[in-house]
């Protein structure tokens, strides 16, 4: 059942991500309040409302189309640094999924790699700079490694979520060099990066959503 990701599976993944992030938005704002301007949870909640609406409105049954709509909707919501970066992420996935009815494990890894590349085109942040990149990179690399080991998409997504979670946790001891947190300098030590935490929630949501089964 989870050997490939089709339209319905992708919709479950997207909704899973939205649910995970939405229930945690207050925690995300608290992290941002400590080392940014306190609005990351609000921005993510808004982005997830747009995601859910884009998914509901999309009747194409086309993978690329729903990912593109989700990306565009998140971009349209604005929302500081979050909108452009997460919007680009989904649009990058969509581009990679163009013309495909389903994604097998290898194609899924490719799509996430394309998404990561799209994000990295927008920012100079490198791993270690205390941004969402610190969760995104290990998530995508972990997924690729799992696929190479022959795991199926569901298992690979679990691995990606674990890696993202570790990556997000590792930002706690980093010094912020990007975004609004940068200006706080050493005061950013001790708090994990909100954006990286969101990435970890999103991947956990992907995995949970897919695992939940359904149609």
């Amino acid at each position: 059942m989870a050997e490939t990701i089709g339209y319905d599976e992708m919709v479950r993944m997207l909704r899973g991500a939205a649910e995970k992030v939405t229930t945690q938005h207050e925690m995300l704002s608290k992290l941002d309040a400590a080392i940014g301007d306190g609005d990351h949870g609000t921005a993510m909640r808004r982005a997830m409302v747009c995601l859910v609406k884009a998914v509901a409105d999309n009747r194409s049954r086309d993978l690329a189309s729903v990912l593109n709509d989700v990306g565009w909707a998140i971009l349209s919501a604005g929302g500081g640094s979050t909108g452009p970066l997460f919007g680009t992420f989904f649009m990058g996935m969509g581009e990679a999924a163009a013309e495909r009815a389903t994604l097998d494990a290898a194609a899924l890894a490719e799509a996430f790699e394309a998404a990561l590349a799209a994000v990295r085109k927008q920012t100079k942040a490198e791993p270690g700079d205390k941004t969402m990149i610190d969760a995104l990179v290990p998530a995508v690399e972990g997924l690729r490694a799992a696929v190479e080991e022959g795991l199926d998409p569901a298992e690979a997504l679990e691995r990606a979520a674990d890696a993202a979670q570790q990556g997000a946790a590792s930002t706690k001891d980093m010094l912020a060099r990007f975004g609004k947190a940068k200006n706080l300098g050493r005061r950013t030590l001790g708090t994990p990066d909100p954006g990286a935490t969101s990435v970890s929630l999103i991947f956990r949501g992907f995995a949970d959503g897919l695992a939940a089964g359904g149609t």
């Binding site: 349209s76 929302g79 640094s81 909108g83 970066l85 200006n183």
Partner: protein, 333 residues
């Protein structure tokens, strides 16, 4: 403590404030569904359009200067958050009157991300757009590292100069050149003495001791160059002006635009007193205050403090500053 602000559901803050603004200035601007504030009467065909973007919560801010002789469109985001690239792309298209569009962007992470995406999309669509980034906060880093410097209230005189040039029928390259020249000749520094409340979260944006002020404070409560003890108006004015003059290497004989921009709770009374001292010191140094403005243009909610802005002017720029314009928050006859 309950937040002492007159608001309704925080989720509707921006749509409600834009609704009020549109009803208030119906003769000059209108607001679209995508959060664009647009001139009520579009610019003549054949003239360069001027578009900007920025988060809300800084009212009147950028959208206050949409109208004849300044901006054609300002794209408003959520509270302290840039609008999305799709709305910006829509604005660039709407502002195109056959002579290209200047896209003015303040150097803040979210704004730059949105603007870069917008520019990519605009390029794909073959639009004739030039981007101009403002970064004049001398607290961010040295002049040699412009990317470290935030965009502050210097955008307002810049809108006035490029807006007047565009209205006068100059080409996109000429309008860009004027904006670029002012951008490279301006410097701003902010000071805060009390924090503000984030209107969506209800939380204080930062903390400051009862007898301290922070010079170099950013536009959203981002830390500056560090706290110092409160000083008198004159001492504060002198300290900040000295830093700005040094940064811009201002010389006797130069002519400047001077702006004192209140950030919220600081009274005009105080801003006048500060301006007075700045004017005195510049006059003593043989520097001419050719143009000036004291107002609350770019606020940080009810934060007490102000931004001091200077810009070196050519004679042409003085004329552009004095050219007629008609916007909700700046009218020149």
């Amino acid at each position: 403590m309950a937040m002492k602000k007159f608001i309704n559901d925080p989720d509707n803050l921006v749509s409600e404030l834009l609704e009020g603004y549109a009803l208030l200035h119906a003769g000059k601007i209108r607001v679209t569904g995508s959060g664009m504030v647009v001139r009520a009467k579009p610019k003549d065909e054949g003239k360069v359009g001027v578009v900007t973007l920025g988060g809300s919560g800084h009212e009147p801010a950028l959208s206050g200067f949409v109208g004849e002789g300044m901006l054609d469109i300002s794209v408003a985001g959520e509270i302290f958050a840039a609008p999305g690239a799709p709305a910006c792309l829509e604005a660039l298209k709407a502002a195109e009157r056959g002579a290209g569009v200047l896209f003015v962007v303040l150097n803040h992470p979210g704004d730059v991300l949105a603007a870069n995406l917008t520019m990519e999309m605009a390029e794909k669509e073959g639009l004739n757009v030039k981007q101009l980034l403002t970064h004049e906060d001398i607290a961010g880093g040295p002049r040699s590292e412009p990317e470290q410097r935030r965009g502050l209230v210097g955008c307002i005189p810049l809108y006035k100069l490029v807006g007047a040039a565009a209205e006068a029928g100059r080409s996109l390259d000429e309008v860009l050149a004027i904006g670029d020249a002012y951008e490279r000749n301006m410097a701003t520094l902010a000071v805060a003495v009390t924090s503000a409340t984030h209107p969506a979260t209800g939380e204080a944006m930062f903390e400051l001791a009862d007898d301290e002020m922070e010079i170099g404070m950013g536009q959203h409560g981002e830390a500056g160059t560090g706290c110092t003890k409160l000083k008198s108006a004159d001492e504060t004015a002198e300290t900040m002006l000295e830093m700005l003059l040094k940064d811009l290497n201002v010389q006797s004989g130069d002519q400047l635009l001077v702006m004192i921009n209140g950030s919220g709770a600081t009274t005009l009374m105080e801003l006048f007193i500060i301006f007075r001292r700045v004017h005195q010191v510049l006059t003593e140094k043989g520097v001419k205050v050719a143009c000036s403005r004291v107002a609350e243009d770019l606020t940080v909610q009810e934060m007490a403090g102000f931004q001091m802005h200077i810009g070196r002017l050519t004679d042409e720029m003085v004329d552009l500053w004095n050219a007629p314009c008609d916007t909700p928050f700046m009218t020149v006859r």
